[in-house]
Amino acid sequence: MAAHLKKRVYEEFTKVVQQQHEEIATKKLRLTKPSKSAALHIDLCKATSPADALQYLLQFARKPVEAESVEGVVRILLEHYYKENDASVRLKIASLLGLLSKTAGFSPDCIMDDAINTLQNEKSHQVLAQLLDTLLAIGTKLPENPAVQARLIDVACKHLTDTSHGVRNKCLQLLGNLGSLEKNVAKDAEGLATKDVQKIIGDYFVDQDPRVRTAAIKAMLQLHERGLKLHQTIYNQACKLLSDDYEQVRSAAVQLIWVLSQLYPESIVPIPSSNEEIRLVDDAFGKICHMVSDGSWVVRVQAAKLLGSMGQVSSHFLEQTLDKKLMSDLRRKRTAHERAKELYSSGEFSSGRKWGDDAPKEEIDTGAVNLIESGACGAFVHGLEDEMYEVRIAAVEALCMLAQSSPSFAEKCLDFLVDMFNDEIEEVRLQSIHTMRKISNNITLREDQLDTVLAVLEDSSRDIREALHELLCYTNVSTKEGIHLALVELLKNLAKYPTDRESIWKCLKFLGGRHPTLVLPLVPDLLSTHPFFDTAEPDMDDPAYIAVLVLIFNAAETCPTMPALFSDHTFRHYAYLRDSLSHLVPALRLPGRKLPSSPVSPSITPHEDPSQQFLQQSLERVYNLQHLDPQGTQELLQFTIRDLQRLGELQSDLAGVADFSATYLRCQLLLIKALQEKLWNMAAPLYIKQSDMASAAAKQIMEETYKMEFMYSGVESRQVVIIHHMRLQAKALQLIVTARTTKGMEPLFGMCEKFLQEVDLFQRCFITELPHLQDSFVDKLLDLMPRLVTSKPSEVVKILQATLRQSTFLHLPLPEQIHRASATIIEPAGESDNPLRFTSGLVVALDVDATLEHVQDPQSIVKVQVLYPDGQAQIIHPKPSDFRNPGPGRHRLITQVYLSHGAWTEPCQIEVRLLLAYDSSTRISRPACLDSTEALPLVENSIEGTIPFSK
């Protein structure tokens, strides 16, 4: 208790200081100012050489300065600044001024005059630049003050004529950051100023120093970012900058042109050397396309990236980017793509066997051939063939964005994307597969394209293969041969990489579902049925056969004529698969059978509102009936929990909410049950086992609350407070049970104190939420707090017991979107027949493959646990690169776990689990009161992996 009191006293002390803070502020200022700045002053005076002074300043810069004493320090620094002869020291002082003016809570307008004054007499260019930087810091701190801004702009304009590029750079930066935005200010002077800023900056586009030119463009971009509308006249200037000698200038100019093209897409600009005019956005597009073949790869990346976001460009310009007119000896030649297309449309397969198959055909008019078109010609062809993979990736991304907005372009760029599947860098391949998936709504693959796509299925990289499966899920195929080809290639893939099983099945599910009419004619072939003879029944465990069935059954879902083609064993297999792989095989209406899944199938139709209503109603019911007799309450809770669980199973989209509320109700139920126990009525403390039930309940509630807090995504602070409240109740229960069952007072002291700390913490953390907790346990407890602090543990326990029993049941508001985190381990599968063998003492690597759903930031919280039969447990942290993100809210963990064990003779089971590590202190950002390293592993999902091993 004494220790506890000490703590309280200490806390109160600190509180008092904070409250009185404002009253004694002036006094404190006076106290700190001399101490801090005086020390600096003395140090600086002591300094004999510039190097010394620099040292002192550096030391000074390492320590933070409070907002109140900043001004004093600034004065001291300025004083030394005027006296100092050495430029480097002045430079450091200037930079310190900038740093100091950034101090939170300090308003730097008081030092602005001084800073501007120092500018006047400064000779060193470096110091000048630094001073301007300081002014920039001051200016950005005072965005609301137009007078200050106008003044700073004046200063900047004055120094723009400086001979040093550094100073000019900073001036332009200042103009870019502070150039006034108020266009609507009616005053003439203001209006002029706004016009000026752009013109002034524009004048420096032709500065002799490339760094200044870059800074000028950047300043212009900065103006744009701050919402100032750039003038269209800048466009011509910017176009000239595209042929600058320096890459940073060109790179910035490309950006500026892009910005302007977004601002004035529909303006008309003339084409030089002709009378024609085109839209500005088209012109800009052409110019940026031109930059895709720039000499510097930085510019190329920049240009390729920006092309993607120019959606307003006309379609014929867009299509030119994929066009590179081929010729050979001045005769027009068709591209390989065109040839492929022609062969396809003429219904012939490529012979490809003749030399000169690609022989040029028509003569070209030499005058008409323009080798470097000023337009957008072939920009993407160049970009996709670039030497640097950064450029290629940027080009693929741009293609993706443009194709998403234009279906006709998507159709055209398909050939090029398919070609990228053979890039030498895996990243590029992957990116192009993803791109293709994103645009797949707009396209239908031709057979020859499909052929190339499918060839990649043999890639040894798992990522590529899976991305490709994902792609195939969304692809439209035009012919039945295409489907057949895809199936054959997928089966080949399955044979080569059996681990792809799941992914391939899923892929075939969608492929079948998308193309029922194309699958139909293939069915007899695929099932190898014969009109007259019964064929042998295929092996049901063959993954390839399952794959075929998955394709057929999914196609049959929307094609009612298909089941007629099935043979008897197919129906049997259907029943089996429908049970074992229900996520892959849909419910079919089979002829001559009752719909086996009739209770399930109606639920497919979206009845969102009724089920939502049901959920709401059942919860309402629970919350409203607070004063029922205990027996009734318990029953009602039990029923509701059951209902909710069932609802969660039926309605997958409500599963999160239902589970969440069911868990909460279960906690409540446990609490009520625990409080109903007879033993509470006895006055004397019990030292027997009878209270097991209560303490177990307390424990379980704690566990459940942790699950509620950390296993669901989308939990808001309103819920968190209720969860914590429940936990607090559980803790109180625990305390009471302990008090009743343990002898002696000693351990109770500590527990009481800890509990009161928790209450205090709760109050501090959720102070804003407290008004919502009327009449609750905490509410009452806080009222009694003064009494509790001073009473003995036995008293405390008694009060707690009473409060706990009186307190009401809190209403849990439901969040908008809540999902339960879950994980499924795909590999290792549970019932493996062949055990892993390894020599004792050495390690064996076990591949673990799992999908995680609704886990936020899995890289840091998901762990793998290995349980050995002798009770040894090992927690393994997977590498961040082992996690892939195939879709929103979904993650995939593919990692290797190293197993090792000492002597063991018999085959035995090893359990592999996935854990979700949590840290209760992070979410509510508690200070270090609670041991913040508390990281209790929580079993999230456990699937047994049987890996028997022996010596």
């Binding site: 490809g352 051939v369 323009n370 063939e385």
Partner: protein, 600 residues
């Protein structure tokens, strides 16, 4: 007038024996020293007697530059340096220096040992010749002598190929050698900065071709090989040992790796092993992918490609074999071809052009029955494919390079005349620069306008800058100073300093001008009126009224006297020094306009 002279001794409107003489600002440089593959007589080497009739080549040439190791660019080098006699420096890049002697030795062997020619250079000559070679790095500026400097740029094409910039003072020329603007599996794309040379000498092999995307080509190639191997057939790829062979190897190697294929790939031994060794060494000359991954694995350390043995050709099962030479005219590739030709499951892929008369050319043109030596008839059942893998820039690539370098003139070499004509016209039309295409022995002379650097003292510069308004980079600016030409350099100094340096006394030069003004008032009053008028007009200058009755504007003196004949007319005497010419003439013109009517 300074000029650049260019004379191609080879490769002028022709492909083969590249050899171009350039004389630039008095320096003579020979670019490449190649042989012609089409000839076996004297025409095979360039005519070096053109350079100098009598007298040593070393005295005439300042240096020789070799762009890359192909024989049509370096084949005549030992003959030139050892037999004709040249002792000056020869510049080439490190990989070229390493690989060049191997190819020269091979060439020598074929000519001397196989064809039995005499009077050809010997192995020792090749060695001696290589001793004269100075190796250069990319982007390294090498000072050949005090004035001449050269610099190498990356050119793609083959390992170690480079473009060279030759610079004397402010005049410069760039020679591209052979180059490739699209990257391939093992080499990057050619690159040059905006060096704005006076002359760009570029190859123009594909002057009239725009090539298809390389990806289709690669994909086709891989698909064909893959299909054949899956069928259990054998694939024969006849190649030349260096260059394309490595690209195709890498292509197949990575494909095998990606697709987990198991069929063996063989490479016929000999020359190639040595060459592969150099490819492994010169990783920095390869493309991004190889450069980035060689720490984990050097791409040229092939995992799937093994050395070929004669006996392997009869092994059952699928395989891929690279065999030399490329045109199926002799050697190992022809032997294997004869073995495999009868099976329709097999395939031969010709990755390059075949000369007329070779077996390669015959089968490509569709001949199915070949007459071999000994009157044997060979029936070709195997599939024959043609794939073009060429590493020259196409028309678009050439234009791109011209755009990058921004030359004043372009000169085309290493191509056929008819095709050059087209490209020449395009370049002139597109870039508005002169374009030349001389034939062998024809000299092109270009006038240049070199910049002449003039030194200026900082003090003078600052003083003059301070006078004017804002400095504007794009506009010429007027300056006052004295140009001193002394010891072959130019300096611009202030006139005081010039006087001091020359030990001359300064002469005052004054202009005086009389302006007649009709004014009936007294002289003093006139002066006052002039004073007040000038004061109001020239606000930026100091205008003083001196006690002796004259007006001073800056240092210009104005006095008024009455006219001797007509008292109604006053004569204003304006006098200024030469330095104040601008202001003085302005003042007179101002006064000539007359004074404003006095407020009377």
């Amino acid at each position: 007038m300074p000029e650049i002279k260019v004379t191609p001794l080879g490769a002028g409107q022709d492909v083969g024996r590249s050899c171009i003489l350039v004389s630039i600002a008095g320096k003579n440089v020979m670019l490449d020293c190649g042989m012609h593959m089409g000839y076996n007589d004297d025409r095979r080497f360039p005519d070096f007697s053109y350079i100098t009739q009598n007298g040593r080549l070393t005295d005439f040439l300042d240096c020789v530059i070799i762009s890359h190791f192909h024989l049509d660019h370096c084949g005549a080098l030992p003959y030139f340096s050892e037999m004709v006699g040249y002792d000056g420096p020869i510049y080439m890049t490190h990989p070229t220096k390493a690989i060049c002697p191997i190819l020269l030795e091979d060439y020598r062997k074929i000519t001397v040992d196989k064809k039995g020619e005499t009077n050809f250079f010997t192995s020792q000559m090749i060695k001696d010749c290589m001793k004269k070679v100075v190796a250069v790095h990319l982007h390294q500026t090498v000072q050949v002598d005090d004035e001449l400097e050269i610099k190498a740029y990356y050119a793609g094409h083959v390992l170690g190929a480079a473009m060279f910039q030759i610079k004397v003072g402010s005049e410069s020329a760039v020679y591209t050698g052979d180059y490739n603007m699209t990257p391939d599996r093992h080499l990057g794309a050619a690159w040059i900065d905006k060096c704005r040379p006076n002359l760009l000498i570029t190859e123009s092999t594909y002057a009239t071709t725009i090539r298809d995307s390389k990806r289709c080509r690669e994909r086709d190639f891989l698909k064909k090989v893959h299909e054949t191997v899956e069928r259990g057939g054998k694939v024969l790829i006849p190649v030349f040992a260096l260059g394309r062979a490595q690209e195709l190897c890498i292509l197949l190697e990575t494909f095998w790796e990606r697709m987990n294929l198991k069929a063996p790939i063989y490479f016929s031994t000999g020359l190639t092993e040595k060459a592969n060794h150099y490819y492994k060494l010169f990783i920095t000359w390869t493309n991004q992918k190889i450069r980035k991954t060689f720490v984990q694995r050097n791409m040229f350390e092939f995992k799937h490609i093994k050395a070929f043995d004669r006996a392997f050709a009869d092994n059952p099962g699928p395989m891929v074999v690279f065999a030399t030479p490329g045109m199926l005219h002799a050697g190992q590739s022809l032997q294997i071809f004869r073995k495999w030709a009868g099976n329709e499951k097999n395939m031969v892929i010709m990755p390059g052009y075949c000369v007329q008369g070779t077996v390669g050319h015959k089968i490509l043109s569709g001949q199915r029955k070949l007459e071999m030596e000994g009157r044997q008839i060979l029936e070709v059942k195997m599939q024959v494919e043609y794939m073009s893998f060429s590493a020259h820039a196409d028309a678009k690539g050439i234009m791109q390079l011209v755009r990058q370098a921004e030359p004043d003139n372009v000169l085309l070499v290493h191509g056929e005349a008819k095709k050059m004509e087209f490209l020449k016209q395009k370049i002139e039309q597109e870039f508005h620069v002169n374009c030349y295409m001389p034939a062998n022995g024809e000299t092109v002379t270009l006038l240049t306008h070199p910049n002449i650097p003039v030194g200026i003292s900082l003090g003078l510069l600052k003083r003059e800058m301070a006078l004017g308004l804002l400095p504007d980079a794009k506009k010429p600016k007027l300056m006052h100073g004295t140009l001193i030409m002394k010891d072959n350099n130019f300096r611009l100094v202030s006139s005081e300093q010039a006087l001091k340096e020359l030990g001359l006394a300064e002469h005052q030069l004054r202009f005086t001008c009389r302006v007649h003004i009709h004014d009936t008032r007294k002289e003093q009053e006139t002066v006052l009126r002039v004073y007040s008028h000038l004061k109001s007009v020239l606000k930026a200058h100091s205008v003083q009224h001196l006690p002796d009755g004259s007006v001073m504007v800056e240092s210009i003196l104005i006095q008024a006297t009455a006219h001797s004949e007509d008292p109604g007319t006053k004569v204003l005497l304006v006098s200024w020094t030469y330095q104040d010419e601008e202001l003085g003439s302005y003042l007179t013109s101002l006064l000539k306009k007359g004074l404003p009517q006095a407020p009377s």
